[in-house]
């Protein structure tokens, strides 16, 4: 290595002390060169991504102008026009660059939707305020903020002791009681705080809070093979009772079968009808048979709503939260917000009506204050609170 032309390598950062011997100096300069290479490689990568994105932006813009100018309605045909912008020339179906796109083009358009890309995260590290007047491509920079995920979402902590529902129920019955501490108060929950959804068991079609789903299936499906529960029981006795810390189930899965809850849950049809009628406004839609196709619009809308949600305050969040527990079957498009944030698992066949684990709690509560219509709850903050604490409570109390 004869790169000893200078005092050190090319980066000039790692410099040997004056009195170092020649091997020392060589080592320093080699290390310095390697550092230079690392930076060089990184830079090349970033440069490539950025320059190609800007070049593509210049091309997209000029192509857009060309197709606008040609007035031809067939989108595929290459318009026979010549358009020139500061960054590119459109001619004979080709785009030719003018100058360096890093200098001529400042923004980046998404190559798929042709909308500008938001270049800074909206929250957390490196966040900048976004220009609300611009419609950005929906691919946003990821958020890096402790306690939040890459979309800036956070979750209602399941909290300790959420499994014990009796206390919760007492609380819920008192509308003025402060929200359960573990919940953080649904009322104060900003729209990016999600709660845990429920899903439908594919066997019994019951709606189960997601965190209980595995246990439920263990008893609902798993008991067909007795071995499973036996194995589990054996494990418990073998492995010491401290075995499963996470899933606070010291009951063998089979025992859940005996719990009377499922039966009591299926409230009398009449009651339920009434209930449903009241809730009419905020039904979620577990009936969405194949999520992948039919409802993308709905979903899309919802996402937008959510991102705007900051400004809209607590009104839509409430619906979202509520919808988690609601299971009526009607499909209402105006309440998209609730839909997918909540019921994730669409049953393939439409589920029997209202087997919600929450029903019981709900009825108890709703019978107390006059039932507010969803529209009115949006205004009345007190009522809103009722509804929320109710729904969040039902959410977090597993059906056991």
């Amino acid at each position: 290595m004869s790169s000893e032309t200078g005092e050190t390598g090319k980066a000039g950062i790692i410099v040997a002390p004056e009195d170092a011997n020649s091997v020392d100096k060589l080592a320093h300069s080699v290390l310095d060169d390697l550092l230079y290479n690392i930076v060089h490689d990184l830079l090349i990568k970033v440069h490539r991504d950025e320059k190609m994105a800007r070049a593509a932006t210049a091309a997209i813009k000029v192509e857009k102008l060309a197709s606008d100018a040609s007035e031809s309605s067939t989108p595929d045909a290459k318009p026979d026009v010549r358009i020139e912008t500061d960054a590119a020339i459109y001619e004979e179906g080709k785009v030719l660059l003018k100058g360096n796109p890093l200098k001529t083009t400042k923004e980046i358009l998404c190559p798929r939707c042709h909308l500008p890309r938001l270049l800074h995260p909206t929250d957390g590290k490196g966040a900048k305020k976004q220009d609300l007047s611009i419609i950005y491509c929906k691919k946003h920079p990821y958020i890096e903020k402790p306690g939040y995920d890459i979309y800036g979402q956070t979750w209602v902590a399941p909290g300790p002791g959420r499994g014990k529902k009796k206390k919760d129920m007492e609380k819920k019955l008192d509308p003025d009681a402060s929200p359960a501490p573990g919940e953080g108060g649904a009322k104060d929950r900003p729209p990016n705080v999600l709660s845990f959804p429920s899903a439908t068991c594919s066997k019994c079609k019951r709606c189960i809070l997601v965190t209980r789903l595995n246990n439920h299936m263990g008893s609902c499906i798993g008991n067909s093979g007795r071995n499973a529960s036996r194995a589990a029981a054996q494990k418990i006795s073998n492995g010491g009772s401290n075995g499963g810390s996470q899933n606070n189930d010291n009951t063998p899965p089979g025992s859940q079968k005996g719990t009377p809850l499922p039966a009591s849950r299926a409230a009398s049809p009449r009651k339920r009808d009434g209930d449903e009628f009241d809730e009419d406004g905020d039904d979620s839609d577990p009936n969405n048979p194949k999520r992948k196709k039919p409802k993308p619009n709905v979903l899309t809308k919802k996402v937008i709503l959510k991102s705007k949600g900051q400004s809209q305050g607590p009104s839509n969040k409430k619906e979202k939260v509520k919808a988690n527990s609601m299971l009526s079957m009607e499909q209402r498009v105006d309440d998209e917000d609730s839909k997918n944030s909540t019921v994730q698992v669409a049953p393939k066949k439409s589920t029997p009506k209202g087997t919600s684990p929450t029903k019981k709690l709900k009825l108890g509560l709703n019978s107390k204050p006059p039932l507010p219509s969803p529209a009115s709850t949006k205004k009345g903050s007190k009522r809103e609170r009722d509804q929320e604490s109710e729904s969040s409570g039902t959410l977090s109390s597993p059906p056991q």
Partner: protein, 520 residues
């Protein structure tokens, strides 16, 4: 430079890449001028560029890193040199301008990346024509578009991209830009061991392409509670919807509960389980749904064309040499993953008692691989030639590398004795972002492959995802890291966060997934 391999003159005329919508035709105005001079200039430029790429990527770095300034002796440097596109000179950055003035040569290739520097722009330019060649060289190692990895042909035989673009655009809907496959999966009660494996499947490009190109259509599948349908639905949900909240893998879960896989009955409890066992379970289940339906017998040389076999399965060959007569027996078996024992002082088990178990503070993945697939061990076996029990040397090497290499670091060791509890080995094992598997293949045994850069590249893997177990042996939590493009993400049940490479590399990995570079 004389050292560059001479290319036989090709009579073929090179073409500039056809214009693509949303992309400029040339990297800059100057490249445009170069390509529009005449066909001969285009031919020589492209040919020369290919030659330079070969010299950068297929030969010892000594050649492209040696610059010959015009007025002095050759100098070999560590930092990038610039190879003139228009003549066979290699220059240092300082001499580049001088050369340009003297010869009016304006384009130079960066010896580290293969990118083209334009002197008139004073910038690297990313020309679509050059870039295509460069990416192909880095990827598959060949400039031709026809040659593919063997497996790929079968895998993407019905690749719709070969059909007309028109057909595709009229028959598909474009997913939102927001649908990027980055979502968490809710923990349904001690199911984090499933979530981490599902996430690593979801971010596996081979499986993703299979499912997103209707490899298994849940609408056409008759099997009730089919796990592959559940996977299909999940892929759709992750890559076609705009949802950013967690996913509830209820169908996977119920399919899992309903599945009658006897071998995995232990898994079906509501207790915490081993992610590796779930990986095996899922792989076999998906194999049965998509493959020839035969049960993959462990140890046999079973091969099938299903997506799981094409993704994960490779072949091992163990060679047993009789110490008495020198007779050699070969045995080939297919593998879903490589399980590497982590020996240390307290955890010596089975036949392996080598001295490497001095209990170093940490180990490296390559050390573990060396132990298993380079070193040989002694064993007793019944030699056919000698017709008696003999001492033998046994050595195992990889005969066929998989597209996605899954490695299990055996952190959970079960002691033989009944009363002994199983223990977890917490020793950190350093693993690389980029893994060269060539030394562990039986091709490496053959001749001298040290300087075969092309072969080495075809055995190069990039880290794709890492499954980490935190906590004790009988209770704990799984998280995983997956790479999407160059960005790493941490998946902790329903929570997805950005991760740094250092977070990933510092993790105490339990399962590692590497993907072959030529696919990506």
């Amino acid at each position: 430079m004389a050292a560059r391999p001479a290319t036989p003159a090709s009579p073929k005329n090179f073409k500039v890449k056809a214009p693509q919508p949303g992309q400029p035709q040339y990297g800059c105005e100057h490249v445009q001028r170069l390509f529009n001079q005449d066909q001969a200039t285009t031919n020589t430029s492209i040919q020369h560029y290919k030659m330079i790429l070969r010299s950068i990527f297929d030969t010892t770095p000594l050649i492209p890193q040696t610059a010959k300034p015009m007025d002095s002796a050759a100098v070999t440097i560590l930092t990038p040199t610039y190879l003139c596109l228009q003549c066979p000179s290699t220059l240092t950055e300082e001499d580049r301008a001088k050369h340009g003035h003297k010869k009016a040569h304006r384009f130079y290739v960066d010896s580290r990346s293969g990118g083209v520097y334009c002197q008139m722009c004073d910038d690297i330019v990313w020309d679509p024509t050059f870039e295509e060649l460069r990416l192909r060289k880095i990827g598959t190692g060949t400039f031709s578009t026809n040659r593919k990895r063997k497996n790929e042909d079968e895998l993407f035989a019905a690749d719709p991209s070969k059909e007309s673009l028109q057909y595709i655009s009229t028959n598909t809907s474009i997913a939102s830009c927001k649908a990027n496959g980055l979502r968490g999966i809710y923990n349904a009660g001690a199911t984090c061991y499933q979530n981490v494996v599902l996430q690593s499947f979801l971010h596996n490009p081979v499986l993703r392409n299979f499912y997103l190109s209707d490899g298994h259509q849940s609408s056409n599948c008759e099997i009730p509670h089919c796990l592959s349908c559940a996977m299909d639905d999940m892929f759709q949900d992750f890559y076609a919807l705009e949802n950013t909240n967690g996913y509830t893998a209820a169908n996977i879960l119920s399919g899992f509960w309903i599945s009658d896989k006897k071998a995995f009955e232990n898994l079906v409890t509501t207790k915490e389980q081993d992610a590796h066992e779930f990986f095996q379970f899922l792989a076999e289940e998906l194999h049965e749904r998509n493959g020839d339906g035969k049960k993959p017998e462990t140890g046999s040389e079973h091969s099938c064309n299903c997506i799981i076999h094409q993704t994960f399965y490779g072949k091992l060959q163990s060679t047993t040499t009789c110490q008495h007569c020198g007779g050699v027996t070969n045995q080939v078996q297919s593998f879903l993953d490589l399980s590497l024992p982590l020996e240390n002082l307290t955890q010596k088990r089975g036949k392996k008692n080598s001295g490497a178990a001095k209990g170093p503070a940490h180990m490296t993945l390559t050390e573990c691989l060396d132990e298993e697939y380079i070193k040989s061990d002694k064993c007793e076996y019944r030699c056919h030639n000698c017709n008696s029990m003999q001492q033998a040397r046994r050595q195992t090497a990889i005969k066929r590398l998989p597209n996605v290499l899954s490695i299990q670091l055996k952190r959970f060791e079960f002691k033989q004795g009944r009363n002994e509890r199983a223990a977890k080995i917490d020793t950190p094992v350093h693993f690389p972002l980029q893994l060269n598997m060539l030394p562990y293949t039986n091709r490496a045994r053959g001749g001298d492959v040290k300087d075969n850069y092309e072969l080495a590249r075809s055995c190069t893997y990039d880290l794709l995802s890492v499954v980490v177990h935190v906590g004790e042996i009988d209770t704990g939590h799984y998280v995983s890291y997956c790479r999407v493009g160059d960005q790493w993400f941490q998946f902790n049940d329903h929570k997805v966060e950005l991760a740094q490479k250092s977070d990933v590399l510092g993790a105490k990995a339990y399962l590692l997934f590497y993907i072959i570079r030529s696919l990506t």
